[in-house]
Subunit: 428 residues, 2 copies
């Protein structure tokens, strides 16, 4: 038994750097969550000198054997990506009893079962939440929380690059080529974009989701796949006119003991939630026999979001390792105070019934102003000539609940004010 859990990384690119930053910054937090420290051992990179200059305190190495043979490394995070040499590394790590966390969709789509079996045979484990949907929890919910369901359908927008491009084409009235250039400029698309725009990336992710949802091995090369490179601005406009959005949809439906699987630009009615998932966002919609339809939405890519999934898996793995030493407590970590509701800051909606006389609004506005509340807009709504009353709806700028309450208390005592109906906060 050691007083810490050793962790090593393969790869220190964008995602790797984000993982390293959080690992080094959140030592205390991780210690509290896990019950023991995470200790960074090695980071595998190609150019040790270059990385050493930037981060002299990290032990970089270009020798994979050093990591797989390190008795002090229990968890290895694989962020090399691609099939080779990552698949070989993952096999060797699992065989040597290391616990593995990976973001590698290519490898998990093609060799997921094989690696899962290796993990079980060797008393190790492999987790891959980051392989689909970036930071959106989807592998976890499918493999645990929704496990009682027979999943009958997956509909997913799981490629941020193409979703960004399709959104941009219609919103900015630009061609496919211009959208691709812009995506490349912003780092959303690779210099060679073929994996994203031809739907290959999405087939890998759909194969992983099918494996978990239908408990079956799906070879990604068997999934029919069509990319977005033939989609012209005109298609988006015609679809829009007809009431649809075009999205690169990854779709799988279970009917009897057969599944239909495809990745294809698809028209989605604007009434459907998936039609409104724009830009680099991802969304995964599942139907289960018990739960009905659930949707998971969030940032499907990006170093920080992906590091959320990876570190979630790391902490979970570390907790499992640590809990076989001693039961970890769910102790309260933070000393947090609940703010008095009076300190709550918001814009507010106020509906008031007033005597329909000149100067009423000025009176109300004056009292508001005395309490440092400024009015953003006013609707002078329905009036009731018989009772000589009128209804006013006020929208305030940001104000504290305390000041609003004080102001309304004074306003309610005004003779010209009949009744204050409702005071509601407005989400910013």
């Amino acid at each position: 038994m050691s007083d810490s859990i050793g962790i090593s990384l393969l790869g220190a690119g964008n995602v790797g750097s984000a993982v390293l930053d959080t690992l080094l910054a959140d030592v205390e937090r991780h210690n509290n969550l896990i019950g023991t420290k995470l200790k960074l051992n090695y980071v595998l990179v190609q150019d040790v000198d270059k990385h050493k200059k930037k981060s002299p305190n990290i032990h970089f190495t270009k020798d994979f054997e050093q990591i797989v043979n390190d008795p002090d490394t229990s968890i290895v995070v694989e962020l090399i990506g691609g099939e080779s040499p990552a698949k070989d590394y993952l096999s060797k790590l699992l065989k040597s009893g290391k616990h593995v966390v990976t973001a590698n969709k290519d490898v998990m789509a093609k060799y997921g079962s094989e690696l899962n079996d290796l993990a079980i045979q060797n008393n190790s484990s492999i987790k891959y939440e980051a392989s689909v949907g970036g930071g959106i929890p989807i592998i976890g919910p499918l493999s645990r929380d929704l496990l009682a369901n027979e999943i009958s359908s997956i509909s997913a927008i799981i490629n941020g690059t193409t979703n960004y491009m399709l959104s941009l084409m219609l919103s900015e009235d630009v061609s496919y080529e211009d959208a691709l250039e812009q995506a490349q400029k912003l780092g959303y698309a690779e210099p060679n974009p073929v994996n994203d725009v031809e739907g290959i990336d999405a087939t890998y992710k759909l194969a992983i989701l099918c494996g978990l949802a239908f408990h079956v091995d799906v070879d990604p090369s068997e999934i029919y796949s069509k990319g977005i490179s033939n989609i012209e601005l005109q298609d988006l406009k015609y679809a829009d006119e007809l009431g649809y959005s075009i999205k690169l949809l990854a779709k799988a439906d279970l009917i009897g003991n057969r599944i239909t699987c495809l990745v294809c630009p698809t028209l989605i009615p604007k009434s459907e939630p998936l039609s409104k998932v724009d830009g680099v966002l991802n969304a995964i919609q599942l139907k289960g026999n018990l739960v009905g339809q659930v949707v998971f939405e969030g940032p499907g890519a990006g170093a920080s979001a992906t590091s959320s999934a990876i570190l979630g898996d790391v902490i979970d793995t570390a907790k499992n390792i640590h809990s076989s030493w001693k039961e970890s407590s769910n102790s309260i970590l933070n000393k947090i105070q609940i703010n008095d509701i009076g300190d709550f800051q918001s814009r507010f909606y106020i509906r008031v019934n007033v005597i329909d006389e000149p100067g009423v609004l000025a009176t109300i506005a004056g009292i508001m102003s005395e309490h440092s509340i400024s009015i953003a807009s006013v609707i002078q709504a329905a009036s009731d000539p018989e009772k000589n009353t009128a209804q006013i709806v006020l929208i305030t700028h940001d104000a504290s609940q305390k000041n609003i309450d004080l102001a309304l208390n004074t306003i309610s005592k005004e003779k010209k004010v009949d009744k204050i109906f409702n005071l509601l906060p407005i989400v910013n």
Copy 2:
């Protein structure tokens, strides 16, 4: 070591019956997932005779002691609801080393830490995914997948009753009273609706979410809460006019080491995803420092959806119990064939460039018809007088990919057809 895991239930109401139905129907499936059988032992009810008549093969009892003292029961599912006697039962079960799964939001909001501590002290466990958001996975993702994040904000629609009522009032132009009556008729609201309409139910759920997100104990009675009983149809209409939806929003924000917590009818701009969550749906939006913003949406109530969360927890608990006996395999359960893409059925969008001559559309429609494809609508779009061409967009009724491909192959050979630009499926 036994060859099955014993399970008993407290309560056999709507949710209890749904859990029982699936437990009894999916024996083989659960066996495959867990690696051993779940064996139903006892079901605690008040009226044993009544239940016995409907389900003579189930062992009903009104004696809680029989369950807590049953050496063959490892997992107990608590579905009595409310604080008493449920809290007392849960404590006794955990003290006796039983693993517990509960949907009880009242008890978890008020005594969650105490029960979690009891579980750790007694080597038992307590899971409560069903206590918030019905079948939507949210407790699991917060306590595992998103654990690396510092969560800064929760915005949630977590009371289906009030969301249904507010949606109905605006869409059907009915009063609060009529909406409540309708909700009661459909079983969405209790005969005494105060817990839902006054926001008490939502404060319990928000307290549970705050505990997990901020690692802190929040007393639900400290959460500022305002219900929807003062919301009139007019407020919904004014808000709509101003570009907002009104939702009963449960909101918590962490600023420094203080949180602002409230449950309150709130105006949400229509551009925000939460503004479109209508009817009995629930949605929970979280912001984390790593992941950014993620949204979980689905049915927040109902016996079947709730049973999804409960059985997910049961299977997870059973896997944990079983894995301490032997390593469970993630073996492929299903023999599933992937359908040939030719069998894929869909409506389709087709964009074609044709020579601008009379009879072209008739020719195309004729070929479609020969392949059993009927056309739902046609847009005769932009024409190019110089080249004497016109663009046509066709929307088909349901057809197979195979028939579409055959038809388009024939159409592409027609002299009057210049080019087929795009063929895209349409989501139903």
